[in-house]
C-alpha cells in the first residue's frame, strides 16, 4: 500500500547525547524489572522509566536536559520512602481474594452427596460475591435486571438464618454473621446453575421448570444445612428445623429464576 502523504522524518537533536548516553548506561545497571532496555546508539530518546524510590538513578540523572526532565518525573513518581514495586503484595492477596480457595470451596458444593466441610472453615465473602455476580449475569441474559433485589435478598436471608440458628441453638450457638453469609452465598451455586440451565429450557415447558427448580433447591438446602450444622455448634438436634429455614431461603431465590 503506497502512502498518500509524505511523512517527514523525525530528527532529534543530539544535544547532551554523551551525558544522555551515560545516564542511559547508569540506568541500565539499576535493574528495575519494568525498565525498557535503552537503545545502544546515543542519539536516541532514553525511555521514561518509573524508578520508584531508587535514589541512585535520580541522583545520576542530574546532567543533561533530557536527564533533568526525566529525573523530575521519576523522582516525582518515586516519592520519599515508598516501598519499591517488587516489595508490594500481589493485588489479589492484598484484597483478600484467594482464587484457589474459592475454587476449592465451590467445587466442594458441586457434589451434592458428599460435602467437604473442612474447606469451609474460614469464611470469606469474595466467593459469594462472585456467585452473586454470576447469578445476576444469568438473570440479565434472561431479560431480568435484578441486581439490587438479589443482593438485598441475600442479606435479609442470611440475617434470617443467623437469627434462627442462634435462637434454636441456645446458649452454645456460635454461628457468626460472616460465616452465615459466606455459607448462604456459596450454597447459591445450585441456584446459579439453575438460572443457567433455565435459559435453555423452552418457553412453554412449565412443569419441567418446576421439577428442575425443585431438584436444585433440594440440592442447595442439603448443602447449606449440612454446612451450617457442621460448622457451628449446637445445631445437631435441630437439623430438620434449620433445613426447613434454608429450604425457604432457596425457594425464594428459585422463584426469582423461574418466574
Amino acid at each position: 500500500m503506497t502512502k498518500d502523504f509524505a511523512v517527514p522524518p523525525v530528527v532529534f537533536p543530539p544535544t547532551g547525547g554523551s551525558s544522555g548516553g551515560a545516564n542511559v548506561q547508569q540506568r541500565r545497571f539499576s535493574a528495575i524489572p519494568f525498565q525498557q532496555p535503552p537503545p545502544s546508539s546515543s542519539s536516541q530518546i532514553p525511555f521514561l522509566s518509573f524508578n520508584m524510590g531508587s535514589a541512585a538513578a535520580s541522583s545520576a540523572t542530574h546532567a543533561g536536559p533530557f536527564g533533568g526532565t526525566i529525573a523530575s518525573s521519576s523522582s516525582f513518581g518515586g516519592g520519599g520512602g515508598s516501598p519499591s514495586f517488587e516489595d508490594e503484595e500481589p493485588l489479589l492477596d492484598e484484597l483478600g481474594i484467594h482464587p484457589d480457595q474459592i475454587w476449592k470451596k465451590t467445587r466442594s458444593i458441586l457434589n451434592p452427596f458428599r460435602i467437604n466441610q473442612t474447606v469451609h472453615k474460614d469464611s470469606d465473602l469474595s466467593g459469594p460475591i462472585f456467585l452473586y455476580l454470576a447469578l445476576c449475569l444469568f438473570q440479565l441474559l434472561a431479560g431480568k435486571i435484578q441486581f439490587g433485589v438479589i443482593l438485598g435478598w441475600i442479606v435479609v436471608s442470611s440475617i434470617f438464618l443467623y437469627v434462627v440458628f442462634n435462637m434454636l441453638a441456645g446458649r452454645n450457638g456460635n454461628l457468626n454473621l460472616h460465616t452465615c453469609t459466606s455459607l448462604v452465598g456459596y450454597c447459591l451455586l445450585p441456584v446459579v446453575v439453575l438460572s443457567a440451565v433455565s435459559l435453555f429450557v423452552p418457553q412453554g415447558a412449565g412443569p419441567v421448570k418446576y421439577v428442575l427448580a425443585g431438584v436444585f433447591v433440594l440440592w442447595s438446602t442439603r448443602a447449606c444445612s449440612t454446612l451450617v450444622v457442621s460448622l457451628a455448634d449446637g445445631g445437631e438436634e435441630h437439623r430438620g428445623l434449620i433445613a426447613y429455614a434454608c429450604f425457604l431461603i432457596y425457594t425464594l431465590f428459585s422463584l426469582l429464576v423461574i418466574f
Binding site: N166, M167, G173, E237, H238, G240, L248, T251, L252
Partner: protein, 252 residues
C-alpha cells in the same frame, strides 16, 4: 506462646500464671453470637430464647393442634413450675400448650413463599409484588396481635407477655399456608379450605385465650368474656379472607 520458649535456666515458666515482668493479657470474654442476639432482643421483650426451645416432635404435634384443634384430646392449660420463687411456665419442649416463635416465623416465611409461587403461576410475579405481600403479611400479623391484645386489655388483664401474644397471633399463618397451598394445587379447594382455616384458627385462639384469661384475669365477668371470645373467633373470617386473597394490590 509459652510452649515455644521451653524451659529457661533460672526462671521457671508456669503455663498460664502471669509472671512479674511478663505482659498481662487478660482474657476478655467475647460474647457468643447467640448471646449477642439474645441480649439485644431481651432488652425490649421477655426472654425470646424460651420460645425457641423446640424440637421436631413438638413442632409436629403443635401443627396438629393448630390445624385440627377439635382433635386435641388433652387439656389446654400450660404447665407451670416454680422457678426462683416466681411461677413460670415450662418451655415448649416439655409442654405442648406452650407458645413458641419458631412455628409462626416459619409459617410466615412459608406464606410469603407460597404467595409468591401462586402469583407466579398466574403470571403476575415480580419482586416488588413479593415485597408488598410481605408487608401485607406483617400488617395482618400486627392486626391479629392488636385484636388479641385489645380483647385482653378490655377484660382488665394486660399482663400476658407481648411475645406470647405475637406467637399466638402467628399461628394463624399455618392454616393460611394450607389454604394457599390448596389454591395452588386445585383452585376450588380454596373455597373449602378458607372457612375451615377460619374455624380452626378461631377455635384455637378461643381455647388459648380462655386459658390466658383464667390465668390473668382479675375479675371474672362471664358474659363479657364469652362475647369477647366469640368476637375474636368471628374476626378471624375477614382477616383470613383478606390475607388469603393473593393479588398484586395489597389492600384487598
Amino acid at each position: 506462646m509459652y510452649n515455644n520458649m521451653g524451659p529457661q535456666p533460672g526462671m521457671p515458666m508456669h503455663q498460664g500464671i502471669p509472671q512479674p515482668g511478663m505482659p498481662m493479657h487478660p482474657a476478655i470474654p467475647q460474647p457468643s453470637p447467640s448471646e449477642y442476639v439474645q441480649s439485644n432482643i431481651s432488652r425490649y421483650f421477655s426472654d425470646p430464647q424460651y420460645y425457641f426451645q423446640v424440637n421436631d416432635q413438638y413442632v409436629r404435634n403443635k401443627l396438629k393442634i393448630v390445624l385440627f384443634p377439635f382433635l386435641h384430646r388433652g387439656h389446654w392449660t400450660r404447665i407451670s413450675e416454680p422457678v426462683g420463687g416466681r411461677l413460670s411456665y415450662k418451655p415448649p419442649i416439655y409442654d405442648i400448650n406452650a407458645p413458641d416463635l419458631y412455628i409462626p416465623l416459619m409459617a410466615f416465611g412459608t406464606y410469603v413463599v407460597l404467595a409468591g409461587l401462586s402469583l407466579g403461576l398466574y403470571g403476575k410475579f415480580s419482586p416488588e409484588a413479593l415485597n408488598w405481600l410481605f408487608v401485607k403479611g406483617m400488617v395482618g400479623w400486627f392486626l391479629q396481635v392488636m385484636l388479641l391484645k385489645i380483647s385482653l386489655l378490655s377484660l382488665g388483664s394486660g399482663e400476658a407477655p407481648l411475645l406470647d401474644i405475637v406467637a399466638y397471633a402467628g399461628y394463624t399463618f399455618t392454616g393460611l399456608c394450607l389454604a394457599v397451598l390448596g389454591k395452588i394445587i386445585w383452585g376450588y379447594s380454596y373455597y373449602v379450605l378458607i372457612p375451615w382455616t377460619c374455624l380452626c384458627t378461631g377455635v384455637f385462639l378461643v381455647k388459648t385465650m380462655k386459658r390466658v384469661l383464667f390465668a390473668e384475669a382479675r375479675s371474672y365477668d362471664s358474659s363479657r368474656h364469652h362475647y369477647l371470645l366469640i368476637f375474636v373467633a368471628l374476626a378471624q373470617f375477614p382477616l383470613l379472607i383478606w390475607l388469603g386473597n393473593i393479588s398484586v394490590n395489597w389492600l384487598f
